[in-house]
């Protein structure tokens, strides 16, 4: 069987041959085709028969051809031959390289494979997207809380790029700067157990995110230079990135004075527990209450930031990674606020005109050794941080002038070690975590009546926590007995000098808190395909000593049990339910353990009775999620309840000037908070629309004392949000966002205040011609209190792309209508605040973006 193209049978010639493998066996079913020398199309072809023989007919004028022989299992042979009575044997070599794999059609926008949900970036991105963050924000099922990425309402555990975790929790640097077009897909790995040795032993219910890049070797990043006025404004950013199979690096230098808060790129965003904040601020400027609008509208800054990060993975699975970053941030804010404080039947008014200047210098670094093998896991992370800050603030409070300034430093070194390995058949793990820190702080206040105060603080702290455990699986159970100890010492030295005319008042604290907690814990997990149950039972021999001037003042010696139980059940591939409850107990921290007063700021002085007060915490939740990735539907909702049973009652004493003292009184009290959250994400494939709907209801209550009168404070908040993003038309992108917030406060059952906030964002991007883009962004807010305030912002931007040179020119006008101030309203425990924040003036700017 031979086929050929337009050849008259009268002037034909035949070439024939035989095809064999290297062992001289004939090869059947091989393709034999030919082209003319220099020709692009095949002129004739045949397939070899069972004896490996072929015959090709062709026009007799053709005297030389290019013969192409191919077969699925052999390497192709291309030969330039002379046709004259040609008959020969061709030998094919065995195929060594597999066929080049090809993916032609883009996969569906969202699909799930095992535990991984894949979002195809090209289905969600539009002309207006720069960094991958702009795309992630739109994905149904994923929420963004500031810079934090949430899946099913919980922060993601890891942020990988091509499977490597370079930045750890500080992923914002990549998220904000990695161009969206370099990314092929965003993957969410549900129940990700990042530690291989624990895989199928210890269940994880947290999700991780991976960015799959288009190319295995990617050199990318952006460089941006922007200048504007007036006043003279700049925005510079160069963030080159390199991604290869076993090495990745990101460097960055960024500087601006247009209100971009790049300091956020240094925050650890994977921490689930917001309360683990190691920083204790004893003195603090009053500062400007942040209004609920974008930072670029109101932050007057001058910021410089640089960062270098790398990860290298060796062939033996050893990874080294590290990073250093430096930040210099200066902000200059002003606001006017009217505060109404409710004291029993009375109402105190405090008017403050504030001008705050803050200077922050921070250097941070970390170095990690990591290996993650099937039979060995080892990680050692060493990190350090040093920060030096200065702040100045001038205040006109109820017509009197006050000046205050702060100076503080923070230095810490931390080391975390985690080792898991098999000893015989047993999996054994060791954890050791230690840190030391020191933070001197100072406040200097000058009041208008020439009195003044100087507050000096020094806090030193060291802590070490070590544990050993083994992990054993018995059928569906995993049992983790653990033994460990925690040692901690915190020392606070404070000195307050107050000068009233000639009188000099001295107040000192010298407090040490020493904790020694050996513990035994039994963790049990029951894992089946659909059901995971986890029960932890730690017994902690808690011993805490409180020393005042090196003398024992107070101590606790107690055996405490902190049980917690979690359950996750998958009803089917779409629905899953999580339920859990945990009990714990905490004791007063050092920032609430000093008996001589400490001046926090000009109008706030604090001291506490020197005893170790406990708070029992009961935390429970129920949540459920539904997902149908192919249909693009994601729903999750959760109910949570946090009960705190305190040995004490917070108490406030407020004088007629609005100055207040905070104290704790030894009367038990309770604080509870209840929250309902729901999220709906839907991708409408036909209309290329992403819809997101959010709802949340919260109810908090706490009993507190104000001017020695006990009050029960209740807060009710309802909020809803709608987000619509449409990219149906290539030349038009429509983004709409609506947010509604309603809050009510009750004191002893009486409704005190209520307020509402409505916010509308409407962004339109039009592409009139190819490579030209006009974006018009509008923001409208209505703040309703006793009186209502409205504000309207609009920005216009024009972009010209020059793809040949990989550049983009941008002309922009921000705050077109030159709104000068923003009125925001806040509800604090006993007060309501109306705040007027000064806004950034209208700004015209020109920017140039280079891509590499």
């Amino acid at each position: 069987m031979a086929f050929s193209l337009s050849i008259s049978s009268y002037s034909q010639q035949i070439i024939s041959g035989k095809i064999k493998d290297s062992a001289s066996n004939p090869i059947s079913n091989a393709n034999v085709s030919f082209k003319t020398v220099g020709g692009t199309s095949i002129l004739g072809y045949t397939i070899t028969d069972n004896t490996g023989e072929f015959e090709l007919k062709m026009a007799s004028e053709i005297d030389s051809i290019i013969l192409n022989i191919s077969h699925i299992s052999f390497q192709s042979l291309i030969k330039n031959i002379n046709t004259k009575n040609y008959k020969t044997v061709f030998y094919l070599k065995k195929q060594i390289d597999a066929l080049e794999e090809i993916v032609v059609k883009s996969p569906p926008p969202i699909y799930k494979k095992r535990d991984t949900i894949n979002y195809n970036v090209s289905a969600f991105s539009d002309n207006n997207d720069k960094a991958i963050r702009d795309v992630i924000e739109k994905l149904p099922g994923i929420e963004m809380d500031g810079d934090r990425i949430l899946y099913n309402g919980r922060p993601i555990q890891k942020f990988y790029i091509n499977g490597l975790d370079m930045l750890e929790g500080k992923y914002s640097l990549a998220n904000e700067n990695l161009p969206a077009e370099a990314v092929k897909s965003v993957q969410v790995i549900e129940n990700d157990q990042p530690i291989k040795i624990l895989d199928s032993l210890v269940f994880s219910d947290r999700a991780s995110l991976n960015l799959k890049l288009k190319k295995e070797i990617t050199v990318t990043g952006t460089t941006r230079v922007g200048i504007g006025g007036s006043p003279l404004s700049w925005d510079v950013n160069t963030t080159p990135m390199l991604f290869r199979k076993n090495i990745q690096g990101i460097g960055s230098y960024q500087a601006n004075n247009i209100g971009k808060g790049i300091e956020k790129q240094l925050e650890d965003l994977t921490i689930e527990d917001y309360e683990t904040n190691e920083r204790k601020e004893f003195v603090k400027l009053v500062g400007v209450m942040p209004p609920p609008i974008e930072s670029k509208r109101w932050i007057f800054n001058n910021i410089n930031f640089s960062s270098t990060n790398f990860i290298k993975k060796f062939d033996n699975d050893l990874e080294i990674k590290g990073g250093v970053s430096y930040l210099n941030n200066n902000t200059d804010q002003s606001s006017y606020s009217e505060k109404r404080i409710f004291t029993g039947e009375n109402e105190i008014r405090l008017n403050e005109e504030i001008n705050t200047f803050q200077n922050q210098n921070n250097i941070k670094g970390n170095f990690t050794l990591h290996t993650n093998k099937k039979r060995l896991y080892f990680e050692n992370k060493l990190s350090f941080e040093h920060e030096a800050n200065e702040g100045k603030e001038s205040i006109v409070a109820n017509k009197s002038d006050i000046f205050q300034n702060t100076k503080d430093k923070y230095s810490s070194i931390k080391n975390d070690l985690d080792l898991k390995t098999f000893v015989g058949k047993k999996l054994i793990q060791f954890n050791s975590s230690s840190h030391i820190l020191t933070t001197p702080q100072a406040l200097n206040v000058s009041y208008s009546d020439t009195s003044s105060a100087i507050q000096n603080i020094k806090l030193n702290e060291w802590r070490t926590k070590n544990s050993a455990s083994f992990i054993e699986r018995v059928s569906n159970f995993t049992i983790i007995p653990e033994v460990g100890f925690l040692l901690e010492k915190k020392t606070l030295n404070s000195h307050l000098q107050e000068q009233n005319g000639n009188e000099l008042d001295n107040n000192r604290n010298e407090i040490s808190k020493i904790s020694a907690i050996p513990y035994l814990s039994l963790g049990t997990q029951f894992n089946t395909k659909n059901l995971n149950i986890e029960l932890n039972l730690p017994f902690r021999m808690t011993s805490i000593k409180l020393l005042d001037d090196n003398e024992l003042n107070n101590k606790i010696d107690k055996l405490l049990i902190f049980p917690d139980v979690k359950l996750k059940y998958d009803l089917n591939s779409k629905w899953s339910v999580r339920i859990g409850s945990g009990f714990s107990q905490v004791f007063s921290e050092i920032d609430q353990l000093y008996s001589s007063p400490i001046l926090v700021n000009y109008r706030n002085i604090q001291r506490f009775p020197l005893n170790l007060r406990g708070t029992k915490i009961l935390d429970s939740y129920l949540s459920s999620s539904f997902k149908n990735p192919l249909k693009g539907t994601f729903i999750d909702f959760s109910l949570s309840n946090l009960e705190r049973f305190r040995d004490f009652t917070p108490s406030y004493t407020i004088n007629e000037n609005g100055f207040y003292r905070f104290n704790l009184i030894d009367v038990p009290s309770q604080q509870s908070s209840f929250k309902f959250n729901s999220n709906l994400g839907k991708f409408l494939r036909k209309s290329k629309t992403v819809l997101k709907l959010k709802n949340s209801v919260s109810f908090d209550s706490s009993s507190e004392k104000l001017d020695s009168q006990e009050n029960n404070i209740e807060n009710f908040t309802y909020s809803a949000g709608l987000q619509v993003n449409n990219t149906l038309l290539e030349w038009l992108v429509v983004d709409f966002e609506n947010r509604f917030l309603y809050s009510k406060k009750y004191i002893d059952g009486d409704e005190r205040t209520s307020y509402s906030l409505q916010e509308y964002n409407f962004d339109l991007s039009i592409m009139p011609y190819e490579n030209h883009l006009v974006s018009f962004n509008q923001n409208y807010t209505i703040n309703q209190f006793q009186n209502s305030s409205k504000s309207y912002f609009a920005d216009l931007e024009y972009q010209i792309q020059v793809p040949e040179w990989n550049i983009e020119l941008e002309l922009g006008l921000q705050n077109i209508f030159n709104e000068k101030e923003y009125i925001s309203l806040f509800n604090t425990d006993f007060s309501v605040v109306e705040n007027i924040t000064r806004l950034r003036p209208r700004l015209f700017f020109v920017g140039l973006d280079f891509k590499f």
């Binding site: 193209l5 059947s28 199309s41 095949i42 397939i47 299992s73 597999a98 066929l99 059609k105």
Partner: protein, 268 residues
């Protein structure tokens, strides 16, 4: 090892068989030629081995292997309903191609629990290769045409992918068929991806023993008969209908709307 292949001039396909390459195609069709906007599409898998290829719906393979593994566990009901809802298909067309034969398997209609089998001897296609070349998703392709099953087909094959295979019954070009469609574009088969695999597959047709039917024409006649007499066939199997007249009307309408098969029935 190779001698095994030379010794057999296989009449039938071999199962299980080791496949080396998986090629996925999207198959888009217009079931009713009077309603060209109503399209149906399915991901089809072409598995290529040394001397044999298999073309069928990817979901059909998944269904089949789930069914087989449930049976091995002793569950004769097969996988759960939700499995069928999520990953089920009504496309049962299955084509094995060997060096000498094309063997077709399939149900004549979705409501008939029978799998028929017929043979065709190669070659069934008289390809005309044309001078025209083009780039399809970065792959250099050349045009070829053939008349087959009552339609004029246009194929684009890739000489750089040295496999003389293609989707459905199409094969025999010096390179993989990347795209193929009839001139009216009522049936379109487009390449989605090519992957190297090493997979042994034994397709059990959802555990129905295939019945040999004389020829392609006989199969298509059976298909026509089944569609046109659906009510009686179903009633004879014990189905009862509350409103048989209305059901008959609906069935007739559905039969009428299924008028654009990939190969037309051309009476012998």
């Amino acid at each position: 090892m190779l001698s095994v292949f030379f010794a057999n001039n296989v009449f039938s396909q071999q199962q299980p068989y080791d496949y080396k390459i998986e090629v996925l195609y999207s198959m888009t069709s217009i079931p009713d030629s009077n309603e060209v906007d109503k399209k149906k599409s399915e991901i089809m898998s072409l598995l290529i081995g040394n001397e044999q290829s298999l073309f069928t719906s990817r979901r059909y393979i998944a269904m089949d292997s789930a069914m087989t593994s449930e049976l091995k566990k002793g569950n004769s009901f097969g996988p759960s309903m939700s499995f069928y809802e999520e990953r089920g298909t009504k496309t049962t067309m299955t084509i094995f191609k060997t060096s000498s034969n094309i063997i077709y398997y399939g149900k004549p209609a979705p409501f008939i629990n029978k799998v028929y089998q017929y043979y065709e001897s190669k070659p069934i296609l008289d390809w005309k290769i044309e001078d025209e070349t083009t780039l399809i998703s970065g792959i250099e392709c050349q045009k070829a045409t053939a008349r087959f099953g009552g339609r004029n087909w246009i194929a684009w094959f890739a000489p750089s992918i040295g496999v003389n295979e293609g989707p459905y019954k199409f094969s025999g070009l010096p390179g993989l068929i990347v795209n193929i469609y009839d001139e009216k574009k009522h049936w379109i088969l487009e390449l989605m991806r090519i992957r190297n695999i090493d997979k042994s597959l034994d397709l059990n047709f959802s555990n129905i023993k295939p019945e040999l039917i004389g020829s392609k024409t006989r199969f298509l006649e059976e298909k026509k008969y089944s569609m046109e007499n659906r009510l009686q066939i179903m009633q004879s199997k014990g189905w009862t209908f509350e409103k048989p007249m209305a059901t008959r009307k609906r069935f007739d309408k559905e039969a009428k709307e299924d008028n654009n098969w990939i190969e037309f029935l051309i009476s012998e």
